[in-house]
Symmetry: C2
Subunit: 185 residues, 2 copies
């Protein structure tokens, strides 16, 4: 077993040992809210927005973008599990601001292995053979952070499966200060 | 401002006040790992797997499914940000086990508002007008929990943009006990 898998299972043993009454939590989020945010490691939604297990749905992807899959999740969140307040949170220093569709598909064509960024330019560490499959993907990169929040809130707001009674707000999370800043479009 | 938005901003003020050295964390996850799991409110990945800000990427959607969007995020996670261990975590008592594509698209066609489950059957609370758009979505529901984990690990493993050096493991998280149980295909 890999070291990190062992570490996770050991930590989980301790979590389960102190689980207490959390086993009685019900499926629908008790605070009727959902957060859509980035997969970025510096973001812990529960800590930065002050909620615990059982309270919020959390949807995360690269960029915290309003992808079709995020919308699938949000529609389930409201329709079947009753959330009525949705928060879209993008963040400063996001990796999605450092590349374009052309950059990542070009890198992947030459190698699947990890690249490095050098003075703002992504470069492969090897050219051991890649795949052209990256050209078929819209990577949903971000050119302007504020505009991406506004566009994503707008996309969700205008989706035919999202009722007008759901409240949707947009924020930028500052990874240097820990602060949430509301963005209005 | 809605009550819940005020609560989040108040909690965030306190988080930012005690932010300490977290503003110095760098973008790539320090433990080179990513978790793909469900949006379910009962899941707090950092708590249940024992990691803090800066350590893991977290990707979440309805079901924790290996959707195209989750794969987009995972490929970015490895290619640009160096993660080499990925953990797919589905969970017991998942909402995605309670319906099918036909059920949710049928409900949405009659109403966009929240439905209720009654003796295992989803029913609309009103029929105020919906949308046929739900029929164009694959909702990625789950029929068998263990099979969904195995299928999702397999889909990621065989994706042309995922290199063989990335380790991928599958788990079921038990929401009643807090325990992670490894699933091998």
């Amino acid at each position: 077993m890999s070291a990190i898998k062992s570490e996770i299972l050991n930590a989980n043993n301790e979590y389960a040992r102190q689980f207490g009454s959390k086993g009685e939590l019900s499926m629908p989020p008790s605070r009727h809210a959902a957060i859509l945010t980035c997969m970025d490691a510096r973001i812990d939604p529960g800590k930065l927005a002050g909620f615990a297990e059982g309270e919020f749905h959390v949807i995360r992807n690269a960029g915290g973008r309003a992808s079709d899959d995020a919308i699938r999740s949000l529609v389930i969140s409201h329709k079947l599990l009753g959330t009525t307040d949705w928060f879209v949170i993008h963040h400063t220093n996001c990796g999605m601001e450092t590349f374009t569709n052309e950059v990542i598909s070009g890198l992947l064509e030459k190698s699947l292995h990890t690249a490095r960024i050098d003075q703002g330019i992504w470069k492969n560490n090897d050219e051991t053979g890649g795949s052209k499959e990256g050209k078929f993907i819209n990577w949903l990169t971000i050119e302007n952070l504020k505009e991406s929040v506004v566009a994503d809130v707008k996309r969700i707001r205008s989706h035919p499966l999202v009722p007008s009674k759901v409240n949707i707000s947009g924020f930028i999370y500052d990874v240097k200060s820990g602060k949430l800043i509301e963005v209005t479009g």
